[in-house]
């Protein structure tokens, strides 16, 4: 029932956003850890290509290490960037979870008749 492209795209995007938020939490926890390199999650391009191919579940979520220049202690976490990413991810998650709810609402309408 929920195997349509829109639903699968939404759930793929939601889990990728959750992963991004965990990476952000880890980066901020390691704000002062010497020689720590920030992690980054990217999935949007993969998801777009996967949706175009009609297989949104195949979209890969990739975790890479940031190549931003490191400070004197070998750490390259930037607090402002991470806060921004975290905040943005939280809002995107809210948007997509709302869309998911609307999707369920449609089914609810059908079920109630």
């Amino acid at each position: 029932m929920l195997n349509d492209v829109a639903s699968v795209t939404l759930s793929t995007a939601l889990s990728a956003l959750a992963a991004r938020q965990r990476v952000s939490a880890n980066n901020i926890a390691n704000l002062e850890t010497p020689n720590f390199r920030a992690g980054q999650v990217s999935f949007e391009d993969n998801l777009r290509r996967a949706v175009e191919a009609g297989e949104p579940a195949q979209a890969a979520v990739t975790l890479t290490t940031s190549t931003a220049p490191a400070g004197i202690n070998g750490n390259n976490v930037s607090l402002d960037t991470e806060t921004l990413i975290d905040q943005k991810t939280a809002l995107q998650y809210r948007l997509l979870s709302g869309a998911m709810s609307s999707k369920f609402g449609l089914i609810d309408t059908v079920l109630k008749g």
Binding site: A25, I28, A29, T33, G39, S97, S101
Partner: protein
């Protein structure tokens, strides 16, 4: 991966930076701790931390304290002949703590703690959204 892992990741940050603040508070409290020259000086403590490797998905699980190294036991000698702890030449041993360094570290620890507390807030909002999927709004 535990169920609310973003919150537990930030939790490791909170406890690490809280410990750092505790250690700095203890160092500052002992800024003027006098010891006789026959004993080691009060040794300032430092926090040594390392990131915690994540599980299968490769996302790290936060930060943890690995050691609390101490500074030199030699301290610095101060000429205080009237001090009851002074040796025959009139010297006592004071800890070699740089107050400016400690204050700088304190601000770093405090700001990092605040940043982690803010992440807990945002992660909580996100998990609430996830819990509310499917509820009519």
């Amino acid at each position: 991966m535990s169920i609310f892992s973003a919150i537990s990741t930030s939790g490791t940050g909170l406890s690490t930076f809280r410990t750092w603040i505790d250690v700095i508070a203890n160092n500052m409290a002992n800024l003027n701790t006098v010891k006789p020259t026959s004993e080691p000086a009060f040794q300032a403590q430092y926090v040594q931390a390392q990131d915690i490797a994540g599980r299968a998905d490769g996302i790290g699980a936060g930060v943890g304290i690995t050691a609390l190294p101490a500074s030199s036991a030699e301290g610095r000698l101060s000429y205080q002949p009237n001090n009851p702890l002074a040796d025959a030449k009139g010297y006592v041993r004071l800890p070699d703590i740089d107050m400016a360094e400690q204050m700088g570290n304190l601000i770093m620890a405090q700001r990092a703690f605040q940043a982690n507390a803010a992440v807990v807030d945002r992660a909580r909002d996100t998990y609430l959204d996830a819990i509310n999927i499917g509820k009519n709004r």
